[in-house]
């Protein structure tokens, strides 16, 4: 293992140490900025209660993420394959994506009541767009030569999609998953802060109402950790699935 590979772990630890030192040196109030030792302590101390919220947020995020990725992927292939579909749906999509997702939550609550469903839907909505845009780009930029190879064999448009355009767009797809999963957490938590009785978002709102600032920060820390874990998981999936795009030496031997 190279020394460099521990840098990504040392970096946040260094920040936390600096943070702790500054707080101690200037005697910063816990209500303004709790020290890392305080909110990490709060996290461990309250783990039994927090884990219920964490599990809820994780579950909601992952369900919303997969729904959004499926929808974004299908629409992306359609938009990439057909200029007409692209031109038809794109302006509407941009408009839709420009609407802050937090504004949708009250509507979802009217339809489905508060709780899990609005959070899943918000999480889904927020990750459709990056997946769609990336997949569409991957499909639409298929090289002419590659298409000609297939067309000269009498391949249909569907064949070209299946054998060339879709596999070709997979690196774009996996790159977008890493963006989508982190956005997905944002969607879930936004919805949870507005209308839910479980989840990290809910926990943080309640904690801030109680002036339990360390607990608010431990919620943030937990979200960051979950985001990193999911991001890393998809980075691994990406490397295994589309290593050919990066020509990695450990791929395919």
């Amino acid at each position: 293992m190279k020394a460099k590979s521990v840098f990504p772990i040392l970096f946040p630890i260094a920040i936390f140490i600096l943070w702790e030192a500054v707080c101690r040196a200037f005697n910063v109030s816990v209500y303004v900025l709790p020290m890392p030792s305080q909110f990490i302590g709060a996290l461990i101390e309250n783990w039994a209660g927090i884990s219920v919220h964490a599990l809820q947020t994780m579950k909601t995020t992952v369900i919303g993420f997969f729904l959004g990725v499926a929808l974004g992927g299908i629409l992306g292939v359609a938009a990439g394959a057909s200029r007409t579909v692209y031109d038809t749906i794109y302006p509407a999509l941009v408009g839709f994506y420009s609407v802050p997702k937090v504004a949708l939550v009250p509507i979802f609550v009217i339809w489905f009541g508060s709780g899990t469903v609005p959070a899943i839907l918000t999480s889904m909505m927020i990750c459709i767009f990056p997946v769609l845009v990336n997949v569409a780009a991957g499909v639409a930029t298929t090289e002419r030569d590659l298409q000609d190879v297939l067309k000269s064999l009498g391949a249909s448009r569907l064949d070209v999609l299946r054998f060339v355009s879709v596999p070709r767009s997979l690196p774009y797809f996996f790159a977008s998953l890493k963006i989508a999963i982190t956005l997905s957490f944002v969607g879930t938590v936004v919805s949870e802060t507005v209308a839910a009785n479980r989840g990290i978002g809910t926990m943080m709102v309640r904690a801030s109402a109680d002036f339990d600032v360390p607990l608010v920060f431990s919620g943030l820390l937990l979200l960051a950790l979950m985001g990193i874990c999911m991001y890393a998981a998809f980075a691994v999936v990406e490397r295994r699935a589309v290593g050919w795009a990066k020509r990695e030496a450990d791929f395919g031997h």
Partner: protein, 284 residues
């Protein structure tokens, strides 16, 4: 005057013609803005014949190939392959291009099998005939000197190896017509000569009809039964030569006086037109 004296003109007997171009015109764009790539070209190719088309850059050689394959429609005139007018891409065609165009996510062997996943009747029974298909692909790989490369990804192969694989892919479905668009254009001279031999062997194995587009006169002389010279755009056929050497040909044939004279005649035709049509002709 030195043309077409070594044997009877090709394709004089109508029943043996496999590819027939008649007054073929190909245009990009339409109306006043149309650019003519190929202009009223007539050419007959016999079944099993190896024909090379040479000419300056941008003379419509590649376009001609695309029209024969059915990828590009003709503006006027007619293209027939195997007695049928070409209106859509043909299933009996294998193609190879200057870039090897391998799919980077597939291992070499799976790249070579690709046509079998698309062309009927192989497509229908692709899974069932897996073992047989693999055997065929591996035999081809061995024939082109790539016996060990089947499991490698395209980015693990050199340019010459990629073109060998590309030839295998073009031939895997046993096409009756092989269309080659400068397949060796990006290779170094020694690799190119090696691949001429490989291609000649493949052609001698199964004798498909071949239409080869090339810049390289030596390549044309080494490989082709007949060489057609095209003019700069809009492409027209200026000249034809038969190549008299026996098969299998050897590189030494290219150093014979006949080959030298043949290449000189071809060169003069190409240069002559280039000088007339643009001032950048190299001169003879």
């Amino acid at each position: 005057m030195t043309t077409v004296q070594t044997s009877t003109p090709a394709a004089s007997d109508a029943e043996d013609v496999f590819v027939r171009l008649r007054d073929l015109t190909v245009a990009y764009g339409s109306g006043d803005g149309a650019v003519y790539a190929v202009d009223r070209t007539t050419l007959n190719i016999k079944s099993g014949e190896f024909v090379a088309i040479v000419g300056p850059s941008g003379c419509g050689k590649s376009t001609l190939l695309k029209v024969v394959s059915g990828l590009t429609p003709a503006a006027a005139g007619r293209v027939e392959v195997d007695g049928e007018e070409v209106t859509a891409p043909l299933k009996i065609v294998g193609m190879a291009f200057q870039s090897a165009t391998m799919l980077p996510w597939r291992r070499t062997i799976d790249n070579i099998l690709l046509p079998l996943q698309i062309v009927e009747p192989h497509r229908r029974r692709f899974r069932r005939d897996r073992a047989e298909n693999l055997a065929r692909a591996n035999a081809l790989l061995k024939r082109v000197g790539l016996a060990d490369a089947g499991d490698k990804y395209p980015w693990q192969l050199s340019g010459g190896m990629l073109q060998r694989a590309s030839l295998c892919r073009a031939l895997i479905h046993a096409p009756q017509l092989l269309l080659l668009d400068e397949p060796f254009g990006a290779l170094d001279a020694f690799t190119r000569e090696e691949l001429w031999r490989v291609l000649q062997n493949l052609w001698l194995d199964s004798a498909p009809t071949v239409l080869l587009v090339t810049h390289d006169l030596r390549e044309a002389v080494f490989l082709a039964d007949r060489i057609v010279v095209m003019s700069p755009r809009p492409g027209r056929i200026l000249h034809e030569e038969r190549v008299p050497f026996a098969r299998p040909r050897r590189l030494a044939d290219l150093f014979s006086p006949e080959a030298g004279q043949l290449m000189q005649r071809l060169r003069e035709k190409i240069d002559h037109r280039s000088l007339l049509d643009d001032e950048e002709g190299e001169g003879a």
